[in-house]
Amino acid sequence: MADVHAVTPGQGLVPPQRSEYMSDIVAGAEFGVVQRPLTAWQRLMAQAWLRKTAILLIIVVAWELYARHLNNPLLVPTFTATIQAFYAGIVGGDLLQKVVNSVVLLLKGYGLGLALAVAFTALAMMSRIGNDLLETLTSAFNPLPAIALLPLALIWFGLGDVSIIFVIVHSVLWAVALNTHSGFRSVSNTLRMVGRNYGLKGPRLVAKILIPAAFPSIVTGLKIGWAFAWRTLIAAELVFGVSSGKGGLGWYIYESKSMLDIPSVFAGLFAVILIGLIVENLIFRNIEAVTVRRWGMQN
């Protein structure tokens, strides 16, 4: 089957002669659409939070239907029972106090972890030995689950807040240091030269050029560090039980399980998820919205 349009390129091939022409363009008003507002539905579906809420609603409905069908509150309590247990825990019980205990502990560990990460990163930026130290330590300790250090921490620091803070610091430190450091290293040479051109060096160069330029990586590090710290804390509390007589969310979950109060177990888990969502969507999302997204450094 010979294709009549197929042209074999060859040596003597010459493009065909065509006449030239000029044409007038159509005036703007004669087009159908140049720019048209989207419909209400299209605008609604463009909102990410609305789409995600819809997904959550579907999951909740599925959960409720399945739990009712199963009809075994010891295995899977219904969503309504979980919400009731959650409400009762907040209003009548000590769930809120447990949340506060956990969050206070978390903030202590997170803050200390960040401070150490800043110190390590500063050291790494200032000298080659510091750089080697950080790279060696992060590659050694980053893959080590913080919770694996808990038995050791118990021996070193005893049964108390210090042990939990120790494992939280371990989980935060390396993730944040790694991200911040790689962020600093990826700042373009041009930006550094611009900073030096206008007389910045040392700490002023770091504060005015390196930190803002590395901000996307720094925020990512903060987010990862937060998630690690939160997980480590709950896990440590579960293993550990009561620390210094107060106990946090992990302990609440463990205790409720022992008493076969499964809706309260679910309520405890629900609280863990809720706090995670709030921190991610309210705090970190807003930090990103007024910084890296506004600056066009992240979409």
Binding site: S188, T190, L191, M193, V194, N197, Y198, L200, M297
Partner: protein, 266 residues
């Protein structure tokens, strides 16, 4: 020069050899380069890639130290980067993405300690107006086109009122139409404020259009091949019948021209 006493040059480069280290080699970028730049010069460093023109500009900026020779600005040796020599780079990311157009200019003025507060803001707006970006003063760089970003960088540089503006192929990453427009605008700005600029390019037409004095550099390592005057019109030399561009081309690519001539005459 009919005046008996020529004013001392603003920038003196004398016998400068520049070397830098790569992972495996020690590279000599320029060898014993000398030239003088005077006030209000539009001095162009022109040469093919590998002639060390950008390295030379970095050294004048204070980012590297010559292994041999001296560089003096107003008689004082150049030792480190400073706000008396402001750089305009080729890369668009020379603007701080976390600052608006106006804040970028103010940043330069305040960081260098040249001006503060209200005074810095007024100076910034004056130069932003000169590059026709008043409407975009509060925009972030990522919302601007490439040409606009370069205009902001030029405004930032000029607002510093430096002794010399160092431009490292500032229009090379722009499309041809925008580049042409930016060249015209730069000349217009020069008419306006008569700054001194040291301009690096590898484009002969750009050098002829922008420069009043063109330094020709040969590659590997960079050595001075000559200095020519230009009035921007690329005139035909009455003696040789060749345009300035042709003369530059012949000088920089002499080897190839000789080959051509052999063919012609042979």
């Amino acid at each position: 020069m009919n005046a008996p006493t020529k004013p001392p040059p603003l920038l003196q480069v004398e016998g400068v050899t520049l070397q830098y280290r790569t992972e495996k080699h020690l590279v000599t970028a320029t060898y014993r380069v000398s030239f003088d730049v005077h006030g209000a010069d539009r001095f162009v460093l022109l040469g093919p890639s590998g002639c060390g023109k950008s390295t030379l500009l970095k050294a004048i900026g204070g980012y590297m130290t010559p292994t041999e020779g001296t560089m003096r600005l107003k008689g004082a040796p150049i030792r480190e980067p400073g706000a008396d020599r402001v750089f305009v780079f080729q890369e668009f990311d020379q603007l701080l993405p976390w600052k608006t157009v106006k804040q970028n200019v103010i940043f330069a003025l305040e960081s260098s300690g040249k001006m503060r507060g209200k005074q810095a803001e007024e100076q910034a707006m004056r130069y932003i107006e000169k590059v026709n970006l008043t409407k975009f003063a509060d925009s972030y760089p990522h919302t601007l086109s490439g040409g606009m970003k370069q205009r902001v960088a030029i405004a930032r540089g000029l607002a510093m009122e430096p002794d010399v503006l160092l431009m490292d192929e500032p229009f090379a990453a722009l499309d041809a139409l925008t580049r042409r427009k930016m060249q015209e605008e730069l000349l217009q700005l020069w008419e306006d404020t008569r700054f001194t600029v040291l301009f690096v390019t590898h484009s002969i037409p750009e050098a002829v259009m922008i420069g009043n004095r063109i330094l020709l550099l040969s590659p590997h390592p960079g050595q001075v091949k000559g200095e020519l005057n230009s009035d921007g019109s690329d005139p035909v030399d009455p003696v040789t019948g060749k345009t300035l561009s042709d003369r530059i081309h012949a000088t920089l690519f002499a080897d190839r021209v000789e080959e051509d001539e052999v063919v012609h005459h042979g």
